[in-house]
C-alpha cells in the first residue's frame, strides 16, 4: 500500500526571478536568475545537483523542445534533465518529478525549474495552441478566458446567483490581488486598482473584463529539493517539507457527459481530496494557513475556494466579499499577488507558488509576511475547467 511522500522531501532552497515584461532578458538569463537565488538559498553548488526537471509550456516562443536548452542555460553537466509540459500544471509537475526522485531514494538532491518567456510573441495574451489534428476538426477556437468564463454561467445556474452579485465577487478577487501585489517587489503588477475600474474594464470574455484576467508575463522559478535529513545536516532552519503533491487529469467526462453542471472543477476536487489524505489534513478551513491558487481568471479563484474545501459550496461569493481570503482574512489567498499580479509565466507558475509558500513558512516574506503560517496549499489548473489538469501541492513546516 502506497504511503505517499509526506515529509519525505524538503525544500532546500528556492528562487524566483522578477516577473513581468522582461524585455532585458531571454529564457536562459531568466532561468539563471531564479537558479542562482535557489543555489545561494540552498547553500550548495551546482555540482551537488544530481537530477533536474525543466518545465516549459510553449516551445515556439521559448527555447525549443527537450531538456537540452535548460541543461545548456544552467550548465548542468551530464546529469539527467527531463523536460516537462503539462499546460498550467507544468511548474508543479516539474516539482513532482524532482520530489519523487528524492522520495524514491534515486537521488539526494534534485532541481525543479520552470520558465516561460511569453513576451516574445509580439502581442498580449497567449499564442493559440495547436489542439491536435483531430480536435482541430471540431473544437471551437475559443481563447483561454472563453473557456474559464463559462464557469460563471455554470455557477449562476447551480446557485441562482445574479450576474451582478457574481461580477462584484469576482471583481473583489482581482481587487484583493492588486492590494497584495504592492508588497511583492518581484511581481509584474504592483499597484492597487480601485474597484470601479475593475468592474468597468473592457470585456474580454463575458463576464470577464480586463482585470479579471491574469498577467501574461516572463519569469522563472525553481526549487531545490532533498531529504529532511540532508537539509538538517546542511544546517537548514525552519525546514519546509512537501506534505503532498497530487495531479488529476480530465478523461473528458465533463465535456462529454451531461452530469457536470459547470459550477466547479471536478479535477481540482479529485486532486485536493487525494492531497489532503496524503498530508493527513482533515479540517482544511482550520488547518490551512494560506493558499496560492490558479487565478488565471477571477472566476477560477472564486470557484477554486469551494473546490479546495475552503468555502462551503455556494458560499464563495459571500466569503470572498466578506474578505475571508484577503491578506487580513481567515485564509489569505494570493498573498504575493497571485497569477493576477505576480504574473503568469505558465511553466514557472506552480514553482512561483511553492516559492511564496516556502518563503512565508520560513518567515522571510518581508512586508507581506503573514503571522505564523504553518501550512500552505498551491493549486494550478491547466487546460480548461471542463477538460484540464489540476495540480496541487501542500507544503508545511516539519
Amino acid at each position: 500500500m502506497a504511503t505517499g511522500i509526506k515529509d519525505k522531501v524538503a525544500i532546500l532552497g528556492a528562487g524566483c526571478s522578477k516577473f513581468g515584461e522582461r524585455w532585458d532578458v531571454g529564457s536562459p538569463e531568466i532561468m539563471a536568475e531564479a537558479f542562482e537565488e535557489a543555489l545561494a538559498d540552498a547553500g550548495i553548488e551546482r555540482k551537488d545537483i544530481e537530477a533536474a526537471w525543466f518545465g516549459c509550456w510553449g516551445d515556439g516562443i521559448n527555447v525549443g523542445n527537450s531538456s537540452i536548452p535548460a541543461a545548456v542555460a544552467l550548465r548542468l553537466d551530464g546529469i539527467p534533465v527531463t523536460r516537462i509540459e503539462n499546460m498550467c500544471g507544468t511548474g508543479t509537475e516539474a516539482l513532482r518529478g524532482a520530489a519523487y526522485a528524492v522520495a524514491s531514494g534515486a537521488v539526494d538532491i534534485a532541481l525543479a525549474i520552470g520558465s516561460e518567456k511569453l513576451k516574445d510573441t509580439g502581442f498580449g495574451g497567449l499564442p493559440p495552441p495547436f489542439k491536435g489534428t483531430f480536435n482541430d476538426l471540431w473544437m471551437p477556437m475559443g481563447s483561454a478566458p472563453a473557456g474559464f468564463a463559462q464557469l460563471a454561467d455554470g455557477y449562476r445556474t447551480r446557485f441562482q446567483i445574479s450576474k451582478e452579485d457574481l461580477k462584484r465577487a469576482i471583481s473583489h478577487v482581482s481587487w484583493k490581488s492588486h492590494q497584495n501585489g504592492q508588497y511583492s517587489p518581484k511581481a509584474h503588477f504592483q499597484k492597487p486598482v480601485p474597484m470601479d475600474k475593475i468592474m468597468n474594464a473592457p470585456m474580454i470574455a463575458d463576464p470577464l473584463g480586463l482585470f479579471d484576467c491574469s498577467g501574461v508575463s516572463d519569469g522563472a522559478a525553481c526549487a531545490i529539493v532533498t531529504t529532511p535529513e540532508i537539509a538538517k545536516a546542511l544546517g537548514k532552519k525552519n525546514i519546509v517539507t512537501i506534505k503532498s503533491l497530487q495531479i488529476s487529469t480530465s478523461s473528458g467526462r465533463e465535456t462529454q457527459l451531461s452530469d457536470w453542471d459547470g459550477a466547479s472543477v471536478p479535477n481540482t476536487r479529485t486532486a485536493i481530496k487525494a492531497a489532503y489524505e496524503e498530508a493527513g489534513i482533515t479540517r482544511p478551513q482550520e488547518q490551512v494557513s494560506l493558499t496560492e491558487v490558479h487565478d488565471c481568471f477571477s472566476i477560477t479563484e472564486l470557484v477554486t475556494m469551494e473546490d479546495l474545501g475552503l468555502s462551503e459550496d455556494g458560499h464563495a461569493v459571500t466569503d470572498v466579499l466578506d474578505g475571508k481570503f484577503d491578506r487580513d482574512g481567515k485564509i489569505p489567498c494570493q498573498i504575493d499577488g497571485g497569477l493576477k499580479c505576480f504574473g503568469h509565466p505558465i511553466g514557472a507558475s506552480g514553482l512561483r507558488m511553492a516559492y511564496e509558500i516556502y518563503t512565508q513558512l520560513q518567515g522571510r516574506a518581508g512586508e507581506r509576511q503573514l503571522p505564523n503560517p504553518s501550512l500552505g496549499v498551491t493549486h494550478n489548473l491547466g487546460g480548461v475547467p471542463y477538460q484540464g489538469i489540476a495540480a496541487v501541492s501542500i507544503l508545511g513546516l516539519i
Binding site: F134, M141, Q150, A152, D153, M203, R253, L257, G262
Partner: protein
C-alpha cells in the same frame, strides 16, 4: 408511364441582412445614384457560409424526415463554388448523409445553371436530389452590390408523391454576352442594361416560352404563376407584360434576399410551390446565354411536400445589420488588421479529415452499446463506462434539440466576426460538447437559449486556400420547429 417530378423541396437564405441604404450611404461620396436602389435589405453570407454550406441547409430542408436511401443521382449548380477543382456535391453529400452510390454532376458557368441542372435531372427521370446554391459577388459601389443576394434551393425528384410534375420545357443557347467573368477574376463585367432588355430578354425569352407552352399543350392564359429570374431590375415585369401574362408574378425576393445568381430561379420556384394550390401551373424562366423555361403542374401531394423553412421561413429569419464594412470584410472585399492572433496555422490534416469523416460530416455521435450514453466525438472508449467504441452505434446530432448550458462572448480570440460566441451545447439526448454559436442576433445568448445545428466553414486556411467545415449552433429561429 410512371409519374415523376418534384416530391419535396427546401430553401435557405443566409440570415445576415444588410440595409441597402447602408451600402448606398457608404458610397454616397462617389456614386450618389445608388440611392435610387436603396430599398429594403439584401442577404449576404456570414463569414463561414458559402455555396457549400447554403446547399447543405437547403438540402436538409428538402429531405428532412424523408428517406433518401433510394436516391440515384445528385446534381449541384453554382457560379461561385468554393473550389475550382473539388466537387461540391461530394462535400455536400456527407452532411446530408446521402447514400454513397450516387451519380453526381456539378454545373455552373452560367446564370442558367440552376434551371438547366434541374431540367437535366428531371429529364433523366430517376430519383435525384438537385441543389442550386449561389453567392454572386459584386464590386463595391456597383449596382449589383445593391441588388445581389445569396441563397440556395433544393429539390427531391422521384416517382412517388409527386407534388409538381414537369409538363413542358423550352430552352435555347446563344452567345449573348450580357455579362461575363474571366476565369480567376473576382467580379463580372456588365454590358448596358437597355440592350440586354431589348435584344436579350425581349427576343430570346419569348421563343423559349412558346416552345415550352407548345410542349405542355398550354397557352399563357393557363399559367397561374410566373417565376422569372432577372438580374435586371424590372426584368420580370417587362417579360410578363410582353407575354401578356395576367396571373401571379412570383415575388423576386428582392427584399430580404436579392438576386441569388444561379439559385434565383430555383428559389422563386420554391417560393411559388410554398403557396401554390393543386392544379396550379407554374412557369419558371431563367436567362443567361439563352433561356430555360420550365412549366410545372402542381398536384394534390403539394401539402405534404412543403418544407418546414422554405423561402418564406428564410425571409422571416433575417438579422438586419447596417454595418456595410462587415459584409465587405466577409466577402474579402477589404483587408482589415486582424492582429497577430490571426497568424495561427490552419492547415487541415486531410488524412485525419478523411478518417473522421463519419462523425465530422454527418455530426454522428456514438451511442454506447453497453451503457447507452450518447457522446461526441466518438473516441476509443465510452466516456462513462469505458466500453470500447466498436460497440457504439451512430446517432446524428443534426436535428437533435439542444440548448445553451454555459456560454461566453469571446472578444480575445481571432475571429472573423467578433465576438466569438462559444459554449456548452446540451442536447436533449444527453450528448454535450463545446460549440461555436453563430448568427447570434442583437439579443445575444443566455443560459437555456434553444439552438439548432448548421453546417459551416469552421476555419479558412488562407495560406493554402482550403476550408475546413464542421457543425455549429445557431439560436433556433422557430421557423424550423416541426
Amino acid at each position: 408511364m410512371t409519374d415523376f417530378g418534384i416530391t419535396s423541396f427546401g430553401a435557405y437564405i443566409p440570415r445576415m441582412r444588410l440595409d441597402r441604404a447602408a451600402i448606398a450611404a457608404a458610397h454616397k461620396w462617389m456614386a450618389p445614384g445608388l440611392r435610387g436602389l436603396a430599398k429594403g435589405s439584401r442577404s449576404f453570407c456570414n463569414w463561414d457560409e458559402d455555396a457549400i454550406t447554403m446547399a447543405v441547409e437547403a438540402g436538409r430542408d428538402a429531405i428532412l424526415g424523408r428517406d433518401v436511401s433510394g436516391l440515384k443521382a445528385f446534381g449541384f449548380a453554382s457560379t461561385r463554388p468554393p473550389y475550382a477543382d473539388l466537387q461540391p456535391s461530394a462535400i455536400v453529400s456527407g452532411p446530408l448523409a446521402l447514400p454513397l452510390r450516387l451519380r453526381s454532376v456539378d454545373s455552373g458557368l452560367t446564370q442558367r445553371a440552376g434551371t438547366s441542372g434541374l431540367l437535366a435531372a428531371l429529364a433523366a427521370g430517376e430519383p435525384a436530389l438537385f441543389i442550386a446554391s449561389d453567392n454572386p459577388r459584386a464590386k463595391p459601389a456597383s449596382q449589383q452590390e445593391m441588388t445581389f443576394g445569396a441563397g440556395a434551393a433544393a429539390f427531391v425528384l422521384g416517382h412517388e408523391n409527386v407534388a409538381a410534375r414537369l409538363v413542358g420545357s423550352g430552352s435555347s443557347i446563344s452567345n449573348f454576352v450580357d455579362h461575363f467573368r474571366d476565369a480567376g477574376e473576382d467580379f463580372d463585367y456588365h454590358w448596358e442594361e437597355r440592350w440586354i432588355r431589348d435584344e436579350g430578354y425581349a427576343k430570346l425569352i419569348p421563343v423559349a416560352v412558346r416552345e415550352a407552352l407548345e410542349d405542355a399543350g398550354l397557352s399563357i392564359g393557363d399559367i397561374d404563376h410566373l417565376a422569372m429570374a432577372s438580374m435586371l431590375r424590372g426584368g420580370a415585369a417587362q417579360v410578363s407584360k410582353l407575354l401578356k401574362f395576367e396571373g401571379n408574378l412570383v415575388d423576386e425576393i428582392a427584399d430580404g434576399c436579392g438576386y441569388a445568381g444561379a439559385a434565383q430561379a430555383p428559389l422563386m420556384l420554391a417560393l411559388a410551390l410554398e403557396t401554390a394550390k393543386p392544379g396550379d401551373k407554374i412557369m419558371v424562366v431563367s436567362f443567361g446565354q439563352g433561356a430555360d423555361v420550365l412549366v410545372f403542374e402542381v398536384t394534390d401531394a403539394i401539402e405534404q411536400a412543403r418544407p418546414r423553412r422554405g423561402v418564406s421561413g428564410s425571409l422571416a429569419a433575417g438579422i438586419v445589420t447596417d454595418a456595410y464594412l462587415r459584409m465587405l470584410s466577409f466577402a474579402d472585399g477589404i483587408d482589415l488588421e486582424w492582429g497577430m492572433r490571426s497568424e495561427k496555422p490552419a492547415k487541415t490534416a486531410l488524412t485525419e479529415q478523411y478518417r473522421s469523416r463519419g462523425q465530422m460530416e454527418a455530426f454522428m455521435a456514438g451511442k454506447c452499446g453497453s451503457c447507452g450514453t450518447i457522446q461526441f466525438p466518438q473516441l476509443q472508449y465510452c466516456a462513462r463506462c469505458h466500453a470500447p467504441s466498436d460497440q457504439f452505434s451512430d446517432v446524428s446530432l443534426r436535428e437533435e434539440p439542444a440548448k445553451v448550458m454555459t456560454q461566453t462572448a469571446d472578444w480575445l480570440s481571432y475571429y472573423p466576426s467578433p465576438p466569438l460566441y462559444v459554449g456548452f451545447v446540451q442536447f436533449e439526448n444527453g450528448a454535450r460538447l463545446q460549440m461555436e454559436v453563430v448568427d447570434v442576433g442583437p439579443e445575444g445568448l443566455d443560459i437555456g437559449t434553444p439552438l439548432e445545428m448548421v453546417y459551416r466553414v469552421k476555419e479558412r486556411d488562407r495560406q493554402r486556400g482550403y476550408n475546413r467545415y464542421f457543425w455549429k449552433a445557431v439560436p433556433a429561429t422557430g421557423a424550423g420547429k416541426a
